[in-house]
Amino acid sequence: MASTLSMILYFIVFPGLVFTAVVGLLTTWVDRKVSALVQWRVGPPWYQPFADVLKLLGKEIVIPEGAKRTGFLVAPLAGLAAVALVSTMLWLANMRGAGFVGDLIGVIYLLTIPSLGMIIGASASGNPLSSIGASREMKLILAYELPFVIAIFTAVTKVSPMTLKLDGILEYQAMNGVLLGNLSCIIAFVVAILCAQAKLTYPPFDIPEAETELMDGTHMEYSGAALAVVKVTQAMMLFTLPVFFITIFWGGLQLTGWGILYTIVKYVIIVTIIVLIKNTNPRVRIDQAVRFFWGPVTILAIVGMILAVLGL
């Protein structure tokens, strides 16, 4: 009974839903602030994302005519729950002694749910622009998922004995130094960051949202609290993906003493790389994106994999 209760607490409060949402929203502020600085602007104050979400919670939810009500409203919630779960798994695996191992396949699988949720929600909204966004999102998933999985499995190959448990990967790194010290894992890390860009639908891969042509595409018909859920899910993804990369490539999160500072530095570096890529690249077309991911990126990922098998 007590363990069930603590599991629920883990999921809802720390390190699940609430914690991830708060840190994720703070991260979106870092994103907006850095973007503003890149463009020589001042940018919003630190509480801006919280103000946005609070405001959205107080607004009316408009359900478009011809929308499938249930699918439209439930799909974003599925995405939210999935990211909260991934975050919980990653943190519990990082907090040794919580007695939790965590499975890599589960993480990869759950990380696709928010995108799938957006596809279902957008298709249920009955808006033609949203459905274009949904179809683009689908193609994008097909494009980036292959190199993403190869990149993750490069890390798995590197770990000996080979393991799919987050716990095992962390253990190996604690004993033998971080995986990012190897050439193969550096390549895999670069590939993973590029795929993260597409997973977050950030420029240059914001094709499903395409503000100028699709008016936010997949999010277009959402309003009020439903839009808040969508925004919070995105923010949580922005938090979860770097944590995932730190866990499998960069030695995991140290949660004691000076390690905390080191963890924050690692996190901020990854977020800054993502934001800088976002700010310096224009949007590509969907066919270019698919070609990019299935061509150079997959080849790069396979090269990394081969190097890992060769032991580099």
Binding site: P45, K59, M220
Partner: protein, 137 residues
């Protein structure tokens, strides 16, 4: 006026509706987003979909053809939502008030919460108008 009210004041998302404007007002709106004026400091940003909007920024003299569109856009906006009439055209009809197609001004068709006159209004005037609007929310 609780937390959501605070959020509403601090985060106005603007949907820009061109109802028969000559495009000058619209260019001035874009000016507000440039580094020199940077309205994102106040949490204001332009959104592409009216479903995300807190402020409907309507410019133009509202010719007869767009009246149904203006009304429909207002009805689609999730409430609470404020309407700002931008430019002399939006406020009174301006130089088009005797025009054959003129069916405005905006407040004849939808409720307006703030007026920003000028032909076109300067970015400073637009920001000033929005600040006054925030004061009344």
């Amino acid at each position: 006026m609780g937390a959501t009210g605070w959020g509403f004041k601090k985060s106005l998302w603007v949907f820009h509706l061109n109802a028969g404007a000559c495009n000058n007002c619209d260019i001035e709106v874009l000016d507000c987003l440039t580094p020199r004026f940077d309205v994102e400091r106040f949490g204001i940003k332009l959104v592409g979909s009216v479903k995300h909007a807190d402020v409907l920024l309507v410019s133009g003299s509202v010719p007869r053809k767009v009246v149904p569109d203006v009304i429909e856009t207002w009805e689609q906006a999730p409430k609470p939502c404020a309407v700002v009439a931008l430019g002399s055209c939006g406020c009174t009809g301006g130089i088009f008030k005797d025009g054959n197609n003129f069916a405005g001004p905006i407040d004849k068709h939808i409720p307006v919460h703030a007026y920003i006159p000028g032909c076109p209004p300067r970015p400073e005037a637009i920001i000033g108008g929005i600040v006054k609007l925030i004061g009344t929310l």
